[in-house]
Amino acid sequence: MNGLDYAILVVTMIAIAAYAVWQTRGRSDLSSYLKGSGDTRWLTIGLSVMATQASAVTFLSTPGQGYESGLGFVQNYFGAPLALIVVAAFFLPIYRRLKVYTAYEYLGLRFDPKTRILGAALFLLQRGLGAGITIYAPAIVLSTVMGWRLDVTIICSGLFVVAYTVAGGCDAVSLTQKYQIGVIFAGMIAAFFVLLSKLPHALTFGDSLSIAGGFHKLEAVDFSLNMDRRYTLWSGVLGGMFLAMAYFGTDQSQVQRYLGGRSLRESRLGLMFNAVFKIPMQFFILLLGVLIFVFYQFERPPVFFNKAAWNYQVAHGEGARLQTLKAGFDSAHDDEKARLQEWMDARHSGNAVAEAAAREAAAAAHGRVEDARSQTKAILKAAGPGSSSNDSDYVFIDFILDYLPHGLIGLLVTAFFAAALSSKAGELNALGSTTTVDIYRHLVKGDASDAHYLVASKCFTAFWGLVAIGFALFANLSENLIQAVNILGSIFYGVVLGMFLVAFFLKRVGGTAVFWSALAAQALVFVLYATLPISYLWYNVIGCVACVIFSLVAQTMIGSVGGKGAEAHP
């Protein structure tokens, strides 16, 4: 990065945050701080919901997923449109009618205080940990490739987001997210067109798709019923729907985004905006990764995209083996490039027999390339910490730094930081609200003024920000980063969703039954996660179904309706 790139990064980030805080100045009552001023329009809600979900991990890591595994990850989002319809039709009207600050407040009204606290505690636990990941994930990648100190990157970006979230509250978060997602889209679209311009001139878009398809990168929909496979149509629709329903309907970081809508209509349209555009957005980001894969078939890629880890091992004891593997990798890549050229020539001449033969030869050469990469990864895994063997998170940022012009590099790095801060701000805002409303006001100090709770909310938001920074400073993740976030969510979300579904649809079940059932279901999910080799998406279904069934059984055993406020819901 040069001076221009740094200027774009610093000026854009500060300008957006300063504008949002200035616009929301003077809104100092508790309600507008926690829920917004109640005049938010559907586009702001829609973009805010999208920005909260799409963290920097989404934009840094997803192209790497596309590069490595193709489009299959898009199935993870197949449940989102259906889930958003359920949330818009059932969850949202109840939240708005009861004028709750948090989703867990509803559990208290419908069941009892202990169930409310359990829901809030599960949220705080998983989102508190997740908040650490959302700040760590972009920091580890960006600091590695930029040569920045990891701790300084985490602390600076963390304190910056804490500052404007604490200062401006919910409205400032929504406003910053609106402009931040604009920067993100601008950066991603610019990267897409630059990438297209970098592909060989003789290569048509159809040729690119043929090459991607030839290497199984376009297999977006897997109809297999095998539950071991991480992404299939069925795990995506069913597991993804439960995950998305829990996330959009019961996770305060999302509920808070649409509670402040000007009307039910505005909030619903904001959710429907996401229902329509979520899948195309993820497809576009994955396609970017697939096209980077095609690009690197004609341009020699690094043998390992985390160059810092590779260079370190070359300099510290594994140099000879790694250099030998790199030589083999380069040779295999040159051979693959020649075979691909023959494949494309045969394709353009319409010679189907020659095309099939060249394609087979290209696949064989690609196999040798991948073999060299796998051996390199194995050496790095054996020699270094676990995280250094996974380089897919570095694919996109390496491409940006190596092939994009200055100015655009600054825009893309700004986009990554914008994505990191926008999702982080939504999480902190929700963590602070939940701690204030469901824990502090409910358990510790119930008779204070709104001004007191406003100060408490700011303190708790800052507290969670510091916790996330602390977690990020000591984290060490070995999974692909975006999967780590989703796995963590899937372990907890199912049970929380089960509690809400019981609240909405099983009116005869009371608080005591659902409370103990939720604990039992969560224990079951922990045990199954440790023992069953199934896709993590299924834990959303298992946790939810277990919670609902256990609640019905427990209520039958208890024999009477418990809890209070059953009249508060339809």
């Binding site: 489009l71 798709l209 619903r268 329509v276 899948i279 195309p280």
Partner: protein
């Protein structure tokens, strides 16, 4: 005929009830799944 309340109006051209909006979203979703499946088959 009763007028729908403000919250029940969608304000979208051609989609006057929320039920119609939800059906339209499902149609778009199914279209995406079909297109994605077709993409994989068009470039095997």
């Amino acid at each position: 005929m009763m007028q729908p309340q403000d919250d029940e109006k969608t304000g979208l051209p051609g989609l006057r009830t929320w039920r119609q909006v939800y059906v339209a979203v499902i149609v778009v979703f199914v279209a995406w799944v079909v297109l994605l499946a077709a993409l994989g088959r068009a470039f095997p």
